[in-house]
């Protein structure tokens, strides 16, 4: 589903950052999760070997994907499941609707699935008169608010408890002004139990599917997926084709990595292994491509299919933490989303690979070792080559490129800047044309350029003297210069 609107990440992010307290709070909430992840990673001395092993398994999966898919489909069928294939979102939705309608299912409970988000399954089913209730608490909250999730693991991380209290008061009849998480979660428990008990069918996503056995694993902390598919007789599992693993034993690697990376837990509360339907029930598995083979075909971005949707790269990303998940306007936001979304439509999502400081933190935490920041850089080149950048950015880049090609011009401009910057009135420095000056002070200009310092040093060394660089009038804090690698 493509829309014509171009995603303007900087603009959306600016709106989010405008509420400075909130942006700070959002940043801190995610950083807290990142710290928990670090503790868990440090609890296993073999962490790096685990990541490497996971990465190798995933590379093997992509290299043999067709075989594994066939094997999985055969084994799953042997266990009594019905396997369906969907090329795109439309086919996926039609298949799901058809199964539901042909069995007269009207009320559906769904557990968290980014794939069904990607396919916009909920609005589609609702248009056909089917009630779909998201049962993960965070997903239910954003569903009540009529919003998409802003994070793939923490769907309502952008919500404050007061706002959730307000939503629940309106929709679930909780006390006005109530904001105690325990009280609110209890109200949701009661409300959702009713939905679980009244459901005709349950829909789940899939965390891992196993070619060798034809089974699949769903991980939750709340137990919502399990309740949703253990009461009704009909279970539909929606599965992106990249979620395959060759052997059941590979799960040992991935279950060790997933929750530790996602929320800093040693494992999720429930890691359920489904092999075949409930006794007397029906299990349908929908295998969905929706652009994944296109990504597999591209050697630059192939490894983004390794993603196990743990969210660690979002929690660590300085841009994501300060701009909020909704600013990406993509099903998967954050660093990995900024690779996946342009693969779908590079013109529409051209700003996303630029929402990156190239700090590399995402690649450092990624449990399957995706070189996320490298791929983001590659996307930038690709988008520039396709001339999909905004004119202002394109002009800026061309100008900078031209300056860099003329060393005399660069050094002259630098000299001029060092002279004039300290005397410039603020309004000339901090305005709309200087995005670097938004929400931060520009560093003070050093009295000498590196080139000048270097020339001076060469000269003094030639004369046998030592060099003392002149301190800048506003020299940066000492930790800063201590960690600097420039001699």
């Amino acid at each position: 589903m493509t829309s014509l609107a171009i995603v303007d990440h900087p603009k959306k992010a600016a709106a989010f950052v405008a509420d400075i307290d909130r942006a700070h709070w959002h940043d801190q909430s995610l950083w807290y999760v990142r710290i928990k992840r670090d503790k868990q990673a440090a609890s296993l001395p073999e962490w790096e070997l685990l990541r490497e092993t996971a990465s190798q398994i995933k590379a093997n999966v992509v290299a043999n994907l067709a075989d594994y898919l066939e094997q999985f489909a055969n084994e799953a069928t042997k266990l009594g499941a019905v396997v369906h294939w969907a090329r795109d979102a439309a086919e996926h939705n039609a298949i799901v609707l058809n199964i539901l309608q042909s069995r007269g299912a009207q009320k559906i409970v769904k557990s968290k699935s980014m794939l069904t988000e990607e396919c916009h399954l909920n609005p589609y089913l609702e248009r056909h008169g089917i009630e779909v209730i998201d049962t993960d608490l965070g997903e239910r909250i954003v569903q009540l608010a009529k919003e998409p999730p802003s994070h793939i693991v923490l769907p309502c991380i952008h919500y404050k408890k007061e706002e959730i209290g307000e939503l629940f008061h309106e929709h679930l009849g909780t006390d006005k002004g109530a904001k105690d998480p325990k009280y609110l979660a209890e109200a949701a428990r009661q409300h959702l139990r009713e939905k679980f008990c009244g459901a005709d069918a349950g829909i789940t996503g899939v965390n891992f599917a196993i070619a060798e056995t034809g089974g699949f694993v769903v991980c939750t902390n709340e137990g919502n997926a399990d309740l949703g598919v253990s009461l009704p007789k009909l279970h539909i599992a929606c599965l992106g084709i990249e979620k395959l693993l060759p052997r059941a034993a590979d799960l040992g690697v991935f279950l060790r990595l997933l929750a530790r990376s996602a929320t800093g837990q040693p494992i999720t509360t429930y890691s359920s292994h489904f092999h075949g339907p409930l006794p007397g029930g029906e299990l349908h598995i929908v295998l969905v491509d929706n652009g994944r083979t296109d990504i597999a075909a591209n050697p630059d971005f192939r490894r983004s299919l390794n993603c196990i949707r743990c969210g660690a790269c979002m929690n660590t990303c300085p841009i994501y933490r300060r701009s909020g998940g909704h600013s990406y306007e993509a099903t998967v936001p954050g660093p990995i989303g900024s690779i996946l979304a342009p693969a779908r439509d590079s013109a529409k999502y051209a700003t996303l690979p630029h929402a990156c400081s190239l700090c590399g933190s995402c690649s450092d935490v990624c449990p399957v070792k995706i070189d996320i920041h490298q791929q983001l850089l590659t996307w930038r080149k690709e988008i520039a080559a396709r001339k999909q950048l905004k004119w202002s950015k394109r002009l800026g880049m061309q100008l900078t490129g031209w300056v860099f090609q003329h060393p005399w011009l660069y050094s002259t401009l630098g000299k001029m800047a060092r002279w004039t910057l300290p005397w410039m009135p603020r309004f000339m420095l901090y305005h709309g044309l200087n995005p670097w000056g938004k929400q931060r002070e520009l560093p003070s200009a050093p009295p000498q350029s590196f080139r000048e310092l270097y020339a001076q040093r060469q000269k003094q060394q030639a004369n046998g003297g030592s060099v003392t660089p002149q301190p800048s009038p506003h020299s940066p804090p000492s930790v800063y210069s201590a960690s600097s690698k420039v001699n």
Binding site: N60, D136, C156, N221, E222, A249, D250, R256, S271, H275
Partner: protein, 205 residues
């Protein structure tokens, strides 16, 4: 809109993938000396389980297990209890016979379920549970409180050892269950008892 032809979709997807030339990548070995082990796996299991909101009780024999079960707060206040562990002897008044219940929805008022666990994992506090012995797998999730009884010698160090123990090939449901149901979706505050069990006690016998 009619149902898309799933066979042509299958052929299209597999055909598109097969048309891509991807360099081979061998599978890594999964048995490695580097995987973590603990000097006292039972102690490690108890520590990790406590850290994720569960409780671990080590008991000497069935008599002590029965005694401890009778003193569980979840037991003393329960109106409906299901017990699926042989040798456990509890006063019959609140016991519900799961096998006699035809519709799983009727388990919605179970307060405490006492179930066997196959083995426990030291590194993450998980217990492997299967549904062979019960009629309705929903019991694991619908009960208000859950007690798992695991043989004391059945503890593995890590998840790799766990998967080495598991066999596949038939239609069956199994799960690693680690602690009570929980959520942190409201401002990252941990709330125990989201949809599933509000407490989990693991008895190592």
């Amino acid at each position: 809109m009619g149902l898309p032809d799933t066979n042509s979709a299958k052929n299209a997807i597999l055909g598109a993938i097969r048309a891509i030339n991807i360099p081979p990548a061998p599978l890594p070995p999964l048995q490695r000396s580097e995987w973590i082990t603990y000097p006292d796996p039972a102690a490690q299991f108890a520590i990790v389980l406590a850290s994720i909101g569960g409780t671990c009780e080590t008991v000497a024999d069935t008599a002590e297990l029965n005694e401890k079960l009778r003193h569980l707060p979840a037991f003393t206040t329960a109106r409906q209890i299901v017990n699926l562990v042989p040798h456990v002897n509890l006063p019959a008044e609140h016991l519900l016979k799961e096998q006699e219940i035809a519709d799983p929805h009727h388990l919605v008022d179970v307060d405490l379920a006492i179930m066997p666990g196959e083995f426990a994992v030291a590194e993450n506090g998980a217990v492997w549970c299967v549904t062979r012995h019960l009629r309705h797998r929903v019991l694991y999730f619908i009960t208000q409180h859950l007690a798992l009884v695991v043989p004391r010698e059945q503890i593995v160090h890590n998840m790799h050892q766990a998967y080495e123990r598991l066999a596949w090939g038939q239609a069956e449901f199994g799960l690693f269950l680690a602690g009570p149901s929980k959520t942190a979706d409201i401002e990252q505050s941990l709330v125990i008892g989201a949809h599933g069990a509000r407490s989990l006690t693991v008895f190592l016998v």
